[in-house]
């Protein structure tokens, strides 16, 4: 088996700019099957754009995106979703006129391609797991922030993803809520789903991910073992500012 088959996702020299603003600058990295990759970087570094490039909402100016060994650079977002990519949004974007259960059903039927009873069962299982059961028939537009975040995760999971993209899902949560979420994500990871997780809540991220990359101005500036990466001068500089020479 070639090395490529072991990779769920490969970015090769992905380049994207909006006018003078570069959101992806010769961005290359790989995610192995079953791996959890953490992504950190300052605001505006191009992290969310990177997700848009992976899911197909944005097309790169140049470079390639390979998913499960296949070049998907020109594939539509809908197509990529059907082959097992799912994401959650930093700012939750539910179908607000539909109930929690219906939101889940859209993902289960359209993205995962499930039908009838098996779609319903998958949705209920996931809703149970994400602790939304008591709100299953509530309109998504009426949910609180925490529940909307849970719904983002619910919808992503109902798509039966092979690759799950999480965009700052822990932001804005209390410690206890965050701990519960980390537990859920660990379970998902343990079930074999590959994860890319963008997060500013670093301790939550470090509790889950196997590897960390750091992005700034669309460029990958560091990559490696999470705790080691957090100690590097580049990261210290971004997160804590430049140390004053004594």
């Amino acid at each position: 088996m070639s090395a490529e088959a072991e990779m769920i996702l490969q970015l090769e020299n992905v380049q994207k700019a909006f006018g003078a603003v570069v959101v992806a600058d010769a961005l290359s990295y790989e995610v192995q099957k079953g791996e959890a990759l953490g992504v950190i970087g300052p605001n505006g570094a191009g992290k969310t754009s990177m997700f848009n490039l992976i899911t197909g909402t944005l097309r790169p100016d140049s470079g390639r995106v390979l998913y499960d060994g296949n070049d998907v650079t020109q594939q539509s977002a809908a197509r990529r979703s059907q082959s097992g990519m799912a994401r959650s949004f930093q700012v939750p974007q539910p179908f607000s006129g539909m109930t929690v259960f219906e939101n889940a059903m859209v993902a289960a039927t359209q993205s995962a391609g499930l039908r009838g009873r098996s779609a319903e069962e998958t949705c209920l299982e996931v809703i149970e797991q994400t602790e939304l059961m008591s709100k299953a028939n509530t309109l998504a537009g009426k949910l609180t922030l925490l529940d909307r975040k849970r719904l983002e995760l619910t919808r992503a999971l109902c798509a039966r993803p092979q690759l799950l993209l999480l965009d700052e899902i822990a932001g804005g949560l209390t410690e206890a809520e965050c701990a519960a979420l980390v537990k859920t994500i660990k379970n998902i990871h343990a079930s074999g789903v590959s994860i890319i997780w963008i997060e500013h809540v670093v301790h939550a991220l470090l509790a889950v991910v196997d590897r960390l990359i750091v992005i700034d101005f669309g460029k990958k500036i560091a990559e490696g073992e999470p705790h080691a990466i957090m100690q590097t001068p580049e990261v210290q500089e971004i997160y804590l500012g430049i140390e004053v020479d004594a």
Partner: protein, 287 residues
Amino acid sequence: MDWLNALIQGILLGGLYALFAAGLSLIFGVMRLVNIAHGDLIVLAAYMGLTTTIVLGVHPFVAMLLVIPAMALFGYVLQRGILNQTLGDDLLPPLLVTFGLSVIIQNALLEVYTADPQKMDAGALETASVSVGGLSLGILPLMTFGIAVVIIAGLQFIFYRTALGRAFRAVSDNQDIAQLMGLNRRHVFGLAMALALAVTAIAGILLGIRTSFDPSIGGGRLIFGFEAVIIGGLGNLWGTLAGGVILGAAQTLGAKIDPGWQLLAGHIVFLFILAIRPNGLFPRISG
């Protein structure tokens, strides 16, 4: 008794208006497209029905079996081929393009069928009636109303109980997110237009049995459809039926006062309702 009779005739006529309106309502609900050509599509369906009955020598209701799938297919192709390209943040392009389509359909019909009024022959059904408590009710109006109720119930079921309906609602709610859930927006819109024109096919044939028609009457049907949708409230299909009934009753009661008042009475009731309830009587969605 005369007045009661007029009221009931009006209510039954409302069923036909609800059928005019259902397709319009569906399209607007799913893709925020205001289809100016809707009335002409109704007339197109009536002519397709006419041709089918003449060429094959079949009853108009049998002709529906051909016209419904033909209109649905036409709807899908029209949406994928032309209308999808006009959809975006700006409401104007689809208005202009469907207006153009309206002109094209009218002139094409004029070219093929001339301006002479035509009518479909439904045989004895046209004049058959039943007597209920001293009132004589036409079988055809009763059937039309029954069909309208069944179609609205069917659309309601599709919207709220099936995967296709969830796809419609998801795309209508947030197109970009729906794409990420594996929904191809262009295809979903195509299906919505196909469904809308399938309903339009039924409306067109029922229209063609009920009255004579010529290529220029589409505009009037469009207005009735719009009024029914808006009286009922956007996004509510049962409301659309109620809107059609109110409009139909207003017209027949108006005609009872003076035949010249038929259309005017409908428009006045529409304006009145718009003035007191700008969102219609039973709105489900805002905007």
